[in-house]
Symmetry: C2
Subunit: 670 residues, 2 copies
């Protein structure tokens, strides 16, 4: 019945659902995160409306799925880089020939899911319906919903084969798909449809095509993205014509910066568009000069976009990126739309999955490996909100095979060997790799160390503040993998350590995490007695042998923020329970990423294996955040104790605790 | 079957239950409060064990239920005063003749419940069993459990009437009651039993009585409190004899500081004890000099307690207070056991109800009326932990009849009239009452104003810091009822503003809450525009007309603390939802406590009624806690605007917003 009503063009039920949805989300906002509520709870169409109302122009980016697994790794890195410019959303095209709904790393479905879940990008998944059964389509939509996708671009798609005919009960038009989505999923998805500024190539006429577009919108579509075009006037006329027949939803122009002669020809052929004479006249003479064409493409796109934005008819620009960065980013920079906003919502990247929207606490351990953290917690029913201790699902996913996709380095084996050493001769040569990474100086072989197994990227600006101290301790085998300085109330707008809404203050306790030998740990434990209760520590080896002076269940908040009119947010904690899950991962990375670069039984592999088997993973927190960070002093004291061990008593000496304590007492007399 | 096993003296099942209980409480400690976990989750016997192990002597206090409702109000005040000295627990005797298990304000049950729930005191409820059916006893115990009581003193009680005989199936001895409690309630209750250092008066012999005591302990009692005695040796011999026959649980000496000749004689008669000759020789000559006897009683008790504590056999002292304060407090002070610890667990008094133990967030509005807050939230299923927003039960109890018990002032009508004015002549005379209260100066009639309807006690030390500013604004009709200064990271041990475990830092946003006229509010709203978004406000009148610049659901944390090895605690919030519940109470107090002092239709009553009907309740938060509190400047600006209104434009003037804004703009040009 509801379906029948919808088929009649009435979307009242869906609108009703939307209203009640809003109310319940308002109700539940009492338990949602205090930071940036609206941004996190709004759906795409609401974000668009708010940006349109405020006159704040936005942009969005279209990508197609990659062909290979390593192409997927590269595309995800591109998502992160292009995500930093602040797109309102990205969309991922649907490739019917490429098993688009499968679990393959390269499928449209998985790429869109990765963008949402791991890159935190609001994403639209394309979906084409022709030659598909309703069951199949419903299956895709259910899967998309399950994966946290909230937006669908509903398309007819190109009929495959010459013998295609309209089917009575099937999907013949995108309108059928829009109706089907509203019928089966009510108001869950935001729906986008395609507009053709020069009319669809198969439409009887431009007017006939406009009527089809009106039908799609009436069936429940929320906004329109247009096919590419080459003249601003083409689009502006199209918008006027749409408005004239009663289409009121947002219409986003599809911008195609020309990036090369071949790709332009191919796209024009596929989309059955004509390139205007004035453009061909410029391009033909320079068709073999890629750089010249790209520069022209940028100039042409910037000019057209300026006209569009100044028209007042265009709230945002949609870019056909062809999976490339340079041209689109340059156009956006010139338009002033590319804003690498240093302000972060939280100190770590927020996932865009609707289930995770309340999440505002995470353990510090995965700070450099946020995607791994998201993967390992993907099965949680609830995400901690307010306090980590409130989490009722502390179980972390296993380090299984699929996970190895994320255990993989983005660099090739060759590049890794250059950075981390073709041949290791001693533990010292491992220390040197860490030092090279921290100082950004070339290693003995002359190569810069751009990453470590625990850090995919060069040192963060915040960590860079600690560079000198880190350098000093890594040289001596305190192999640091994570650290943060103490912060006593810096403005939330601080470009390096700030996060959260304006007008607030952020705080941190100093943190240091490192691998080190058991000899060092023995000295460290003696030294740490002098720092009770100021310093909390957890020390564990690969076998799980665990020493701590902290409560065995109680997390320690190490990053927090105070904001106007909000409750306090404490997004990063040192949690004793999850540290033991992190320990498995941190130790596994020695073997999976580093040791396996070398031949089995080779000395190099044996050295990494030795460290893996014998070193301890240590974390230290300096609780006294208003004072100067004392953790460097702790490490200095440890080295001092190792360099100048207290005089040993020849008689009655054992390795036991009482004697250790006695040694301790003698220390001041040294 | 379990009962049969228990009757055989085996308490294994109960111990088993205890173990599994411990494990689950450890499990759930992840979600419990980060402040002082053990103190809040431990049961009484565990607290005793920890104090005993640490050699930290404690004391406890015994009270009997009052006869009248006003006696109950006084006793509850006494609980608060004597609770501030840090008793490990209090106990409330069971008066079989006084309807002890009823809902009357004076019943043993309700007094013990009030001590636990409203005064936050660990409490033991006495229970006597003779002449009672099992059903009746089970009913009492179920009720005690429902009210949050966790500890029972199991007693036989005195047989009533001469014809009492042992009943086969009934309760003949305290042992039967102990078994019954363990049988019906497993390990839920901690059970205390009575010991008789000179033997129970009805026992066949001292040894026979010791054997009875052993039976009570074997049946499941956790510790022993003794009958009073007059010589330390009596008690120490008793302990040795108990240990000799295998009684291993704690044995607490019952201390009776002699407070008067009559009360001593009465008690001795009831308990069938003999007063030693050396004491009678001192007392008889001074029996008509109460002060002398009390001084002697204090000296005698202090001397005996010193011997007991030095023996090493006594972990804590139990005092028979006779519901009086002076003598017991003086003994405790001389022993160094009375410790008015300025350190608070949280900024507000914590209830001892087991269900509320996770509670660590409250709205600031009830800061001066914590018992009212507890009463109005007593039906909540969950208490907010970590974040106020997590509370799923925001409904507050009604201001109903029973509640009026707490709406009542502790002072008499006469005293109130002296403080608040026999006759009011204007709103100004109301302002003067507020000013007298704040400055602690006598009012026009020469009486000190010790309380206001919203503040039962004189100004808190913290509020006293704001005295000069408060004085100034109250004079002009900004009638303040709640305020706190801003605090930017003071040590948690700070004697005035500190709370929570040592080594931490506490913070506050400045807060000010007051009643004021609608004229003032109109000016205030104009002024507040200049303080966006630094200052959040909520302004409401008795009819619920509500204005705010804050999120309508989002609470604002105004007190928080950072501690070593813990998550952050934010115990006080300004919550927009509960503010509307508080508003009802705050306005009702004008009428219930103040207006009703005067004749119906009298001018005095009409003045209070006018304020009630026309004034607004305003709260202000200065979010910028590291800067100097700007709220006084806000009020100054308001007065400035009232004193020097902007020049009015004769033409086109309306009362509407646009014009208001224009007036605002003119202000700088004044």
């Amino acid at each position: 019945l509801t379906c029948a009503e919808l088929s009649n063009g009435s979307i009242t039920p869906a609108v009703g659902a939307s209203n009640s949805g809003c109310e319940s989300s308002k109700e539940s906002s009492r338990s949602s995160t205090p930071v940036l509520d609206t941004d996190r709870t709004d759906r795409l169409r609401d974000k668009m409306r708010r940006r349109t109302e405020s006159g704040d122009h936005w942009f969005s980016l279209e990508f197609f799925p990659p062909r290979t697994a390593s192409g997927a790794v590269n595309l995800i890195s591109r998502f992160d880089r292009m995500g930093s410019g602040g797109p309102l959303f990205i969309d991922v095209t649907w490739h019917p020939a490429g098993d688009p709904g499968s679990d393959k790393e390269t499928s449209s479905m998985m790429i869109a899911s990765t963008a949402v879940n791991y890159c935190g990008l609001e994403s639209i998944l394309h979906l084409t319906c022709c030659n598909q059964t309703k069951e199949k389509i419903t299956g895709y939509l259910s899967k998309a919903k399950r994966l946290g996708l909230k937006n669908i671009m509903a398309l007819r798609g190109d009929p495959m084969g010459a013998d295609w005919e309209e089917e009575e009960a099937g999907f013949n038009y995108a309108t059928d798909l829009v109706k089907h989505i509203r019928c089966e999923f009510d108001d869950y998805f935001d729906i986008c449809v395609a507009g053709y500024p020069t009319g669809h190539p198969e439409a009887e006429s431009y007017d006939e095509d406009l009527r089809h577009l009106k039908e799609k919108v009436d069936a429940g579509a929320d906004f329109i993205i247009t096919q590419l075009f080459f003249r601003a006037d083409t689009f502006l006329k199209f918008v006027r014509d749409c408005r004239a027949i009663g289409i009121t939803c947002p219409i986003l122009p599809g911008i195609f910066p020309i990036q090369g002669y071949q790709s332009l020809r191919q796209l024009v052929k596929l989309s059955k568009l004509e390139v205007p004479e004035e453009i061909m006249q410029v391009i033909e003479p320079i068709k073999d000069n890629d750089a010249a064409i790209r520069n022209y493409g940028i100039e042409q796109a910037v000019g057209m976009c300026r006209v569009l934005l100044e028209s007042g008819e265009v709230p945002g620009l949609h870019f056909y990126t062809l999976n490339r960065e340079v041209a689109t980013m340059e156009v956006l920079r010139q338009l002033g739309l590319w804003i690498e906003d240093p302000r972060r919502t939280l100190p770590w990247a927020v996932s865009a999955h609707p289930k995770r929207k309340v999440e505002d606490v995470r353990p510090i351990f995965w700070a450099s490996r946020p995607k791994s953290y998201i993967y390992r917690t993907q099965d949680w029913d609830d995400f901690p909100n307010g306090r980590w201790g409130n989490s009722s699902s502390p179980a972390f996913g296993e380090l299984n095979d699929y996970y190895l996709f994320y255990l993989k380095s983005k660099s090739s084996k060759d590049a890794l060997l250059k950075m981390w050493g073709e041949e290791l001769t001693s533990e010292q040569s491992v220390y040197e790799v860490f030092t090279s990474y921290i100082t950004a100086q070339p290693n003995v072989a002359g190569h810069k160390v751009m990453c470590l197994p625990w850090n995919d990227d060069p040192l963060a600006p915040e960590t860079n503040l600690l560079k000198d101290e880190l350098d000093k301790v890594n040289r001596r085998g305190v192999l640091t993998i994570n650290s943060q300085p103490s912060i006593n109330g810096k403005p939330s707008s601080d470009p390096i350590v700030g996060w959260g809404p304006p007008g607030g203050y952020v705080f941190q306790k100093a943190y240091l995490e490192f691998f080190t030998s058991s000899e060092n740990v023995t000295a460290l434990l003696k030294v740490l007695k002098k720092y009770e209760p100021r310093v909390n520590y957890h020390i564990v080896n690969v076998h799980g042998q665990n020493t701590t002076n902290a409560h065995d269940m109680q997390p320690n908040a190490v990053t927090w923020g105070i904001f106007p009119g909000r409750e306090i947010v404490q997004p990063t904690v040192v949690d004793p329970v999850s540290f033991l899950y992190w320990k498995d991962e941190a130790f596994a990375l020695w073997i999976e990423q580093w040791a396996k670069l070398y031949e089995d039984e080779s000395p190099s592999r044996m050295i990494i294996k030795y460290i893996h088997d014998n070193y301890f993973l240590v974390n230290l927190v300096d609780n006294d955040f208003p004072l100067d960070n004392c953790l460097w002093q702790v490490i200095d004291d440890m080295f001092e104790l190792l360099d100048n061990p207290p005089e040993e008593q020849p008689a009655e000496q054992t390795a036991e605790q009482p004697n250790d304590e006695q040694s301790d007492k003698e220390q001041p007399g040294k």
